[in-house]
């Protein structure tokens, strides 16, 4: 079955740009495989504290979790698609249990596997990811439906102790420019920006 979500919803690229504008330079941004990474890279590729995941579908929220543990004085914001979160739902249970206060999960929900042809996902009909996260113990959950509500949710999440989820229904707009940076360069640039010497 193909998904047919509302095209009037906010667009991922617009909301991604607003995250970049709202957070300070010390905030770590992590983007998941596919469109989340394509949009962040296209809009803010020169931002040093961006980490782009290229494969390992589902792992972006766990990468953000590890970063939140290792960098407790920084805010960590993960941008990830709903299909990827559904693939790694167990991580929500772990994050809820450990509850790193500096972690925010922004979940883009266009109700489909967009990049593989728009196959409908359970969030189009039955699955409420915000309720799942709350059920896992991540009690701060926003479900903004407008750009203004989204900006308000991001401001709250980076200021107030978390963890937080922001589950946002978005329009099925394709991702921006696909990128295939060298993964070792992504790692080295990111660690350099944090002032950490890799092995």
């Amino acid at each position: 079955m193909e998904a047919n979500p509302d095209r009037q919803r906010p667009e991922r690229a617009d909301l991604t740009r607003r995250i970049v504008d709202l957070v300070d330079d010390d905030t770590i941004l992590v983007s998941g495989i596919g469109n989340a990474t394509f949009d962040l890279r296209a809009l803010a590729g020169d931002r040093p504290l961006n980490f782009y995941m290229l494969g390992s579908m589902g792992q972006a929220i766990s990468i953000g979790f590890g970063l939140a543990i290792a960098q407790p004085d920084r805010s960590v914001v993960v941008m990830e698609g709903e299909g990827s979160v559904l693939l790694n739902l167990s991580a929500l249970a772990t994050i809820g249990m450990v509850a790193p206060p500096n972690l925010t999960l922004v979940i883009w929900d266009n109700e489909q596997w967009q990049i593989t042809g728009g196959q409908a996902l359970s969030t189009a009909t039955t699955c409420d990811l915000s309720a799942v996260a709350r059920g896992c113990g991540i009690e701060n959950g926003a479900t903004p439906t407008t750009v203004a509500e989204f900006e308000q949710a991001v401001r709250f999440a980076v200021d107030a102790p978390g963890p937080h989820t922001i589950v946002t229904k978005i329009a099925p707009t394709p991702g921006m420019t696909p990128q295939r940076d060298d993964p070792v360069s992504i790692k080295l640039n990111f660690m350099h920006a944090l002032g950490i010497q890799p092995d």
């Binding site: 590890g66 543990i69 991580a91 890799p198």
Partner: protein, 175 residues
């Protein structure tokens, strides 16, 4: 090689983690690993995270390493099957080092036929990914192999598996 220490092999593994500056340990349930995990949980040098599923550990340890904290993943053979894509498309291509301490199943002392096929395939799968599998089958080799096997992950800039064989651990008890 003969150990000069009176430490148990489980304590030697903890020593090896400390010697390699490991501070975050992610694990999924295993009866062989349980005493090691209890030891780590009572030690303020370690932050111990109980995962829900093993694959999360690859992402979590990647994030921790990027943020300047070295970690280790403790799991059973079967759990190693749950992390393969994350190894192949995250930890290996991004050159993220961490040791995987693996409680082996399926060989000597095994009592459950369903553990056999994957247990045999684990070392071959590790090798096929271009990673090292270091085996610990005797107590006297644990201090050296654990310490150097963990160190090898950081030298080779990729995950490295240190196998706790059933000859050493006594295997999983029960029916």
């Amino acid at each position: 090689m003969v150990s000069t220490s009176q430490r148990t092999w489980q304590e030697s593994i903890v020593d090896a983690l400390k010697a390699n500056d490991i501070h975050l340990v992610c694990h999924v349930s295993d009866s062989v690993l349980a005493p090691i995990v209890r030891n780590l949980e009572s030690d303020p040098e370690f932050n111990v995270v109980t995962l829900t599923r093993e694959e999360e550990g690859v992402g979590t340890l990647t994030g921790a390493y990027l943020g300047g904290v070295r970690g280790a993943l403790l799991l059973q053979s079967s759990g190693f099957g749950n992390i393969l894509n994350a190894l192949g498309s995250l930890a290996i291509p991004y050159q993220i080092p961490f040791p995987i301490l693996l409680s082996a199943r399926g060989g000597f002392l095994e009592h459950n036929v369903v553990q056999v096929a994957w247990g045999k395939a684990v070392p071959e799968t590790v090798e096929s990914l271009g990673m090292q599998y270091f085996s610990m089958a005797r107590e006297d080799e644990v201090p050296f192999v654990a310490r150097q096997g963990i160190h090898h992950a950081f030298v080779s800039r990729r995950p490295t598996v240190i196998g706790i064989e059933t000859q050493l651990s006594g295997g999983k008890r029960g029916s």
